[in-house]
């Protein structure tokens, strides 16, 4: 499944990846050649680390290690993954700096923040 985000411009690309471990989106992302990858594990009903810091153009991948379904959903509705089963991943590519709190739509007490910094 692949869903291009629209509206805020924060997310250039959001896509769910399978359990095979592939981390390359279906289409090349802008700045992909020099971008880094932020990783967030979803486990024990928490995002780890709760705050992830990346630079504009970097990708962030969430991996659900729980036996329960979870989402990563921006409070601002800038992005929302579908419910991820165990081993499923969701990938974003950032395009805009800022602090973006997010939560799990299934379990709203699970919270985190994506902090996107300007590229030096």
């Amino acid at each position: 499944m692949r869903a291009a985000a629209s509206g805020t411009g924060l997310i250039a690309l959001g896509c769910v990846l399978g359990t095979s471990g592939a981390s390359t989106p279906a289409a090349p992302a802008p700045l992909a050649a020099r971008a880094a990858l932020g990783r967030v594990a979803i486990e024990h009903f928490a995002f780890a680390p709760p705050d992830v810091r990346v630079t504009v153009g970097d990708s962030v991948v969430w991996v659900n290690n729980d036996a329960f379904g979870h989402t990563t959903t921006a409070d601002s509705a800038a992005w929302s993954s579908p419910e991820l089963g165990r081993g499923q991943r969701f990938l974003f590519v950032t395009t805009r700096p800022g602090r973006f709190p997010y939560h799990c739509a299934a379990h709203p007490v699970m919270r985190g923040a994506l902090i996107v910094e300007t590229r030096p």
């Binding site: 009903f45 036996a67 939560h103 709203p108 007490v109 919270r111």
Partner: protein
């Protein structure tokens, strides 16, 4: 009209609390491994004319709250499995009351999540039992859970709208608090099989998150009645 609904709701909450006879408050000074003792009369639920909304702390993972299960001297893995299954089936049965009785979207959404997650836990437990070739064995605690579940369901079955919403979510807070206490103070310490022990440790964050979620929803329900 509103007053009547509020009174009905408060009465139902009080009746639910009175029906809870499985657990008793923690006595921090009590020594461990006390002989079995029947529950004292349950504490009445706090019934306030103007209930104060409970402040929710979204990031906090709640610790076990005050009530703990009645002291049980003998508890084996098969008993623990029966207790987990009974607990999950209890909440599933509550959630099944919701679609035709609730009016709030957040209550309906919460109940859908409880159905999904508790059904998932049951699946994990039954898979493990099958792998271990172990059959769940009811004990007094799991049987009491079923009795309590039936009592609470009967009470909620007659409610609709706000009366149902407020009673259901209050019951969810109490239910998850008790389940969490049972996991922490009975099931995890007594589980002998390492895989059952690990399963309980994996289930615990789910129950804690459900409790925090229920407290959030309860605060919203009380503040917008």
């Amino acid at each position: 009209m509103f007053r009547r609904r509020a009174m009905l709701s408060l009465c139902a909450v009080a009746a639910l609390a009175a029906g809870c006879r499985l657990f008793k408050p923690v006595n921090p000074n009590a020594p461990k491994q006390q002989p079995v003792e029947r529950m004292p009369a349950p504490e009445p639920a706090p019934v306030a004319a103007n209930p104060t909304p409970v402040e929710a702390t979204p990031r906090a993972v709640p610790q076990s709250a005050a009530p703990i299960p009645r002291t049980i001297t003998s508890l084996n893995d098969a008993n623990i499995a029966a207790m987990v299954l009974a607990s999950n089936n209890t909440d599933i049965s509550y959630a099944r009351l919701v679609p035709s009785r609730a009016e709030r979207a957040d209550i309906k959404e919460f109940a859908r999540r409880m159905l999904t997650d508790h059904t998932g836990v049951n699946g994990m437990v039954t898979s493990l039992l099958s792998k271990l070739d172990l059959a769940p064995e009811d004990n007094e605690a799991s049987l009491d859970m079923r009795d309590e579940s039936a009592t609470n369901r009967d009470l909620m079955r007659d409610l609709t709208g706000y009366a149902f919403d407020s009673t259901y979510i209050e019951n969810e807070v109490k239910y998850h608090r008790k389940f969490l206490a049972a996991i922490d103070q009975l099931m995890v310490p007594r589980a002998r099989n390492s895989e059952l022990h690990a399963l309980l440790k994996n289930v615990r964050p789910a129950v804690a998150a459900h409790l925090a979620h229920a407290e959030q929803v309860r605060a919203n329900v009380l503040s917008k009645k």
